[in-house]
Amino acid sequence: MRPLFLALLLFAAPALAAEDIVSGLSQDQIEINSSYTGADIVVFGTIERPAAPQGRDIVVVVRGPDTQLTVRRRDRIAGVWVNREAARFQGMPAFYFLAATRPLAQIAGPEVLDRYGLGLSHLAPATVITHHDPQPFREAALRQLRARGLYTEAPGSIDFHSEGLFKTVVPIPAAAARGQYNVEVYLFRDGNVVSVQSTPFFIDQTGLERRLYTLAHNSPTAYGFAAVLMALLFGWTASVWMRRMGS
């Protein structure tokens, strides 16, 4: 039975090897140096053995490292606005960007979108910790992260240069977390995922920024003394300098 199955598979292979995608990134490393103000990553790709463009869709998702979102709601107590209720969402990406050829609802059904976590409304946290109804907290978090450029959903933002060549630009704001990011490119055919390709890239500090950050966390006492010494030295230099100028 088994050899027969394999033979069948081999025989059928050329016919099954239908559409596929090959994608790449403009860079696999973003370095945070002192002049860092954010970066743009270009995701590009080609469709191999393209079939009819009708019924075909491409979705590009960029996910940052997993993090916890703490959402707090303020309430007025004796005239003062105080943080009172909170909800924590664990296992949410620190950065989320989605580009698609069409609005997501036209590409696939909600079960498919839920399964792959495609679209902000289909993004599910691993755990939710709260004593309250999490929905308003979740909506507020999505709204605020969109405003900060950390969560983006941009249907229609994939550019086709020829029949099978596409690209999309992912803007990474300076506030995006450091760590591993994954770029997933999905090929949809009639509402089903037929191919996925995943490529990682990294955001990390480099040069002086990295040395200072490492020092601050690995030898905090030395780092603290360095800060104090710098301050005292500057103050002393300025006072000597001014006395010379004065006399």
Binding site: I32, Q68, R72, R74, W81, N83, F137, H217, T221, S239
Partner: protein, 306 residues
């Protein structure tokens, strides 16, 4: 003009930071205060996380205070015994304060407590200074001389553990200076201030120290507290951004020198009146932030579980 701060993890304009250091430094030189009470809220308005603002401002305070302290030290106007005893309380206060900051940060109440402490403290100190400077100005116009130095208050005289402070010509208990030290150390860790505007009035009105040693002694104590708090904040909260400190200090020391020169041209009660107005202005702005209806009642923080 943009620079990325490694600890605050954000991109800022460094020319603005030098300007901020310069401006606050000028005011601190002018009024003979550390300027932390201005710097911390300004950094927070600019968008620096409040933990980092509090942790970093103190290096600016230390730098601005150094030249003043050197001048006073040359005049032998520092009571090192008094400064040392206040400092022993200050270290304890700082430890409590740094622990509180850590705790409040986890609870999400850091911003509230910082703002509330500012409003209460600046409001009270500003009001007292305003009243006092207006009284002095009025008295000067009327030709009445205000009583300069009274004897220590009776309740202070009754406390045990008395010791002699030769430089201050005082024979009082060590308890009041230690208690003042603990209080100021706590505020320094929570609010990112050196505490000059608390220490100076406390020395004059509670301890009844002679005014000629008050400034030098408070400066020496402030520098020590600022140094200790900076090291502790770096250890507990990883909240000292040395690059941010660099730009603030760079502007700050130059501004402070200019401020001292400008201050020499103004009379003491005029300076106190201006400082009182400035303190009240900051308090009013922060109070408005607490009571005004926020644009969004929700706030989202990203980060590892605390």
């Amino acid at each position: 003009m943009e620079i990325y701060l490694p600890i605050a993890e954000m991109s800022v304009n460094w020319v603005f930071l030098i300007g901020l250091g310069l401006g606050v430094g000028f005011l601190s030189g002018l009024f003979g205060v550390g300027g932390g009470f201005l710097m911390t809220p300004l950094l927070v308005f600019y968008g620096i996380p409040s933990t980092v603002a509090v942790g970093t401002t103190l290096s600016h305070v230390a730098a601005s205070s150094v030249s003043g302290a050197i001048t006073q030290w040359r005049r032998r106007a520092i009571d090192f015994k008094m400064a040392g005893i206040m400092l022993s309380g200050g270290v304890a206060g700082t430890l409590i304060g740094v622990w509180l900051v850590d705790h409040l940060r986890r609870q999400g109440q850091m911003d509230l407590i910082v703002s509330l402490s500012y409003v209460l403290l600046l409001g009270a100190v500003g009001a007292i200074m305003l009243k006092e400077s207006l009284d002095t100005l009025k008295a000067a116009r009327g030709g009445i001389v205000a009583p300069s130095r009274a004897v220590a208050r009776p309740w202070i005289m009754a406390l045990p553990l008395k010791t002699r402070f030769r430089q201050s010509r005082l024979y009082i208990s060590v308890i009041p200076p230690i208690v003042i030290g603990v209080f100021v150390g706590m505020l320094s860790a929570i609010m990112g201030i050196g505490g000059g505007f608390i220490v100076v009035p406390a020395m004059i009105y509670i301890l009844r120290m002679p005014t000629n040693v008050v400034l030098g002694t408070s400066l020496a104590q402030i520098i020590a507290i600022a140094a200790i708090t900076t090291v502790l904040q770096a250890n507990t909260n990883y909240a000292v951004d040395i690059l941010l400190a660099f730009f603030l200090v760079l502007g700050g020391v130059v501004g402070a020198q200019a401020g001292v020169r400008a201050g020499a041209k103004l009379r003491g009660e005029q300076l106190r009146f201006l400082l009182a107005m400035l303190v009240l202005l900051v308090a009013a702005r922060l109070a408005w932030g607490l009571v005004a209806t926020p644009a969004d009642i929700y706030s989202t923080t990203l980060g590892a579980p605390d």
